[in-house]
């Protein structure tokens, strides 16, 4: 089935190099999925499930509500028969894929001035009339970065999972899903056209659904998975419409072919704006932006490595990738760009406020992810595609680290509870405290990530976040965005507003992250006497990946050092990522920048200083205001009051959606459509009504059949009269 297209491959300098093997990069995880899936299914068929009564009991062991999803990892102790196969195949395919990706990367680097994308066409997927969609992969600088992030971080998380999930009875199933996810994610980033990207886009959503609901016996988990998928589908609706608009107007869905027509796009026209906005609707679903962010916090019901891989590092950043990939569209639609900026900035701020008052360690990180994704969208919306991708990359490092660190903490908490047979919430920070004594490595690594996300130099997050905010600031003057209007507001005002929101969000980020660290690792230990004895560092198979991620989170900024830094300090090359991505996004960026330019070095320095000051003050505020010593375990805690309570309940957005959208839909469907129209009107009135009418006419007719000759005679005579009368009228003059 694999037919390499000689025409496109032959002309590209990458043909024949390791990059020519790029089809194998996604296929390896697919192979892993098949093997692990088969292991999961055959073992189930051969040995049957564990006694369902016992299993059911395990699932219901602790009924203290949501938030202890990871409970089952440690509860069930039946190790899987073929677990060894899975342990090798699961992470193994990822390692191989990463090595292949690295080889491809080296091959790409070896080619000087590589400008054309390397497209491999395998077979025709949907050839219908003038629509032609191929299964084809496109390797360019942007997808190379994404492939490296996906396989690299994915590999680390797979390795971590070997330790984290080893006791779970669904171990092969878990790896099957995870492998499948990586496959779809790679299809997403490698796909050479929108429909193929959409396969990956929905495929990762599917895997996300399966993995969020991995411990499906808990209704909350299954609910969360379903919610994620459905909310994502709302976004996918937008994605589909955008594709339809593209095809209806430009006749193709291929990236290269569309990009070639980019010059024909009417700049700022309604069509291109609509396309961009519909794509962005897709992004709000997949990347959890307002108004569709609600699924992501619930998605924490999945195993923690899943949260790290899918709901922090890779899948949720697909929207950012999509906009960067469609830069030629968004660059032509400044109103859409401003919309992206506004939504991104609002999300960044809004999610950060919720993050302030969450107690579940994973929920804090979830809202932090939503917030950070907002930053990325601010970046790509402002045409700073490089900055957006850069933040995507660094965020993948530090957020994966944070999640995996939290995973280690939860894992350890859980084991402790398991040993003492206590059923308590292993994810609530009020039950933790002072863990730094027991988990030194994790503690240090988590602090690195915290400083990175807060934007403290020289950690990676500082560089990427600063680049986003700095570029945004510079767009306020002279860029096409600044000249456009958004809902009547001048673009400049919108940009400054978004900048202010971004700074505010940065302050909040520093506060809630420090809060998380303080409550988890500092202050007195609140786990309880017995449990404390069982607290210890997680095994090396789990901390190993953490260390790698820690290093990346610390030095990730090196990939795209700003000029102002390299001029002062000889740290490394300037704007490595920017140069690398230039062939893909350079034109788009240039179009957005328009007549504007970079801000002056002095202003830039000032901006950096302000940003750092804000980050530092955020940490300082958190350290001074928050008193971990006063915290009591969850069981004894009193509920929050006032605005804290609103924050703790996430502004009641879920409840509002439920009352405004979900319930009315069900009610209308059930009472109006089904019982009203279907059973009542159509079946009741029309179908059974016509049957009733037939019976009525029959009944009336039957009443004449009295058997009384007299009646018959009357009817007959009246009939004769009528017929004669009619004859009389029609025939006789």
């Amino acid at each position: 089935m694999l037919i390499q297209s000689a025409a496109s491959a032959g002309t590209n300098p990458l043909a024949g190099t390791a990059a020519g093997w790029m089809w194998a990069i996604p296929l390896l995880p697919l192979l892993g999925f098949l093997i692990n899936g088969l292991v999961a299914l055959t073992s189930a068929a051969h040995f049957g499930p564990a006694d369902p009564t016992a299993a059911s009991h395990a699932a219901h062991g602790d009924d203290d509500g949501a938030g202890h999803g990871d409970a089952h990892a440690a509860h069930a102790s039946t190790r899987h028969r073929f677990a060894a196969v899975t342990s090798i195949v699961g992470p193994g395919v990822l390692v191989a894929a990463f090595l292949l990706a690295a080889a491809a990367f080296l091959a790409m680097r070896a080619v000087p001035d590589l400008s054309a994308p390397f497209v491999q066409r395998y077979f025709s997927w949907m050839p219908v009339g003038d629509l032609s969609v191929d299964v084809a992969f496109r390797l360019d600088q942007l997808s190379m970065v994404m492939v490296l992030v996906v396989t690299g971080v994915g590999m680390l998380i797979h390795i971590f999972s070997v330790g984290y999930m080893r006791e779970d009875p669904g171990y092969p199933r878990y790896f099957a899903y995870l492998n499948l996810f990586v496959f779809f994610m790679l299809v997403l980033v490698l796909g050479a056209n929108y429909p193929l990207l959409f396969i990956g886009w929905e495929g990762v959503g599917l895997c996300s659904y399966l993995l969020i609901g991995f411990w499906f016996s808990e209704k909350a988990n299954a609910d969360a998975g379903k919610k994620a998928f459905i909310v994502n589908r709302i976004g996918d609706f937008g994605f589909l419409i955008a594709m339809f608009l593209l095809f209806a107007n430009y006749g193709t869905l291929d990236f290269s072919a569309l990009q070639a027509q980019a010059g024909a796009f009417v700049f700022g026209g309604p069509l291109i704006t609509a396309i961009a906005l519909f794509f962005f609707l897709g992004c709000t679903g997949k990347s959890a932006q307002i108004p569709l962010y609600i699924w992501l916090p619930d998605a924490m019901a999945g195993p923690t490595p899943v949260s790290a891989l899918i709901h922090a590092a890779t899948m949720v950043t697909a929207g950012v990738y999509l906009i960067a990939r469609s830069n030629f569209i968004f660059a032509a639609a400044p109103v859409a760009g401003l919309t992206v900026i506004v939504v991104g900035a609002l999300t960044a701020f809004f999610a950060a406020t919720i993050g302030l008052k969450q107690w579940d360690i994973k929920k804090v990180l979830a809202y932090s992810t939503v917030s950070q994704l907002g930053y990325m969208f601010v970046g790509v919306g402002a045409g700073a595609y490089v900055a957006g991708i850069f933040h995507l990359m660094t965020h993948a490092f530090f957020k994966a680290l944070l999640f995996l660190g939290a995973g280690s903490v939860i894992h350890v908490m859980h084991e402790a509870y398991h040993h003492t047979h206590r059923h308590d919430d292993a994810q609530d920070m009020r039950n933790m405290g002072g863990l730094r004594k027991h988990m030194k490595v994790t503690w240090i690594l988590m602090w690195i990530a915290t400083l990175a996300i807060s934007g403290i130099p020289p950690f990676s997050g500082f560089f990427s976040k600063d680049e986003i905010l700095g570029t945004l600031f510079s767009r306020a003057d002279g860029s096409t965005l600044a000249q456009a209007h958004w809902l009547g507001l001048p673009g400049t005002v919108v940009i400054y507003g978004a900048y202010a929101l971004g700074l505010a969000a940065a302050l909040l980020t520093a506060i809630y992250m420090t809060r998380l660290m303080l409550y988890t690792f500092h202050g007195p230990n609140r786990t309880g006497e017995q449990e404390r004895a069982h607290l210890h560092e997680a095994p090396w198979v789990m901390t190993g990946p953490l260390v790698v991620l820690g290093i990346l989170a610390a030095v990730g900024g090196w990939f795209n050092l700003p000029e102002i830094v390299t001029r002062a300090l000889p740290l490394g090359p300037t704007g490595l990522l920017e140069h690398w991505l230039d062939p893909v996004v350079g034109a788009g960026t240039a179009r957005v920048v328009g007549s504007g330019g970079e801000v002056a070095a002095g202003t830039e320095g000032l901006l950096i200083a302000v940003a750092v000051a804000i980050a530092v003050s955020g940490i300082a505020i958190a350290v001074t205001v928050l008193k971990p010593a006063r915290l009591v375990p969850k069981a004894q805690a009193s509920p929050e009051q006032g605005f804290e309570r609103v924050l703790n309940n996430k502004y009641y957005v879920d409840e509002i959606y439920d009352a405004a959208v979900v319930r009315p839909t069900y009610d209308v469907s059930r009472n109006l459509l089904w019982r009203g129209i279907d059973t009542g009107l159509i079946d009741g009135l029309l179908v059974n009504g016509s049957a009733w009418l037939a019976r009525l006419t029959g009944w009336i007719g039957s009443q004449f059949q009295s058997g009384q000759l007299g009646t018959y005679a009357w009817v007959l005579v009246l009939g004769v009269l009528l017929v004669l009368g009619a004859f009389h009228h029609s025939v006789l003059p």
Binding site: V717, V720, L721, F727, L732
Partner: protein
């Protein structure tokens, strides 16, 4: 027969017609079946007279023989057989409204029939006036009927015999007391 009927002829024609109608009215208003039957016999006789006056002497004779003679006798025979005429049987007529409605229907029917017959005579097919009388004079009363009956309508005539046979068989079967009727 002359073209313009004589006064004698006309007088008797109207007389028998009026007698027929009057007897018919009396017939339907009699309560007793026997007297009703007797009045019907009067109608039949009047009609027989009309037939004769209309140059259908043979039919007139048959009318007297078959209808007034045979059929009405059978009726009377059945009435006697069933011994009808008890007061309960005589409480036969229906209510006033019923009668009025029936009368209205009857009048309507007369009106409609009347307007219909006024519009109906297809001139091209009419025979010359007095042709029937001449035919009778030439061939006798029976030949003009027998000719068509045994030529054009032979099949119908033969089928009639089947009808009669069936009627006889049916009457016998129906009239027979069944063994289980008791």
């Amino acid at each position: 027969m002359p073209d313009v009927p004589s006064l004698f002829y006309t007088f008797h024609f109207y007389l028998f017609g009026l007698v027929a109608m009057a007897s018919a009215v009396v017939f339907v208003t009699r309560r007793s079946p026997v007297s009703a039957a007797m009045w019907l016999v009067v109608v039949m006789f009047s009609l027989a007279a009309l037939y004769v006056m209309l140059d259908a002497q043979f039919i007139g004779v048959i009318q007297v023989l078959v209808y007034a003679g045979a059929i009405m006798v059978v009726f009377l025979f059945v009435i006697m057989l069933l011994n009808l005429g008890h007061p309960a049987e005589l409480a036969d007529a229906r209510g006033l409204w019923w009668k009025l409605a029936a009368g209205a229907v009857g009048l309507g029917l007369v009106a409609e029939l009347f307007t219909l017959v006024r519009g109906a005579t297809a001139a091209p097919y009419t025979l010359p006036a007095g042709y029937a009388a001449q035919q009778v004079a030439a061939e006798g009363a029976i030949a003009p009927v027998a000719g068509p009956l045994f030529h054009e309508y032979l099949l119908a005539f033969e089928v009639t015999s089947v009808v009669l046979l069936a009627a006889i068989v049916g009457a016998v079967v129906l009239g027979k007391r069944r063994a289980d009727a008791r």
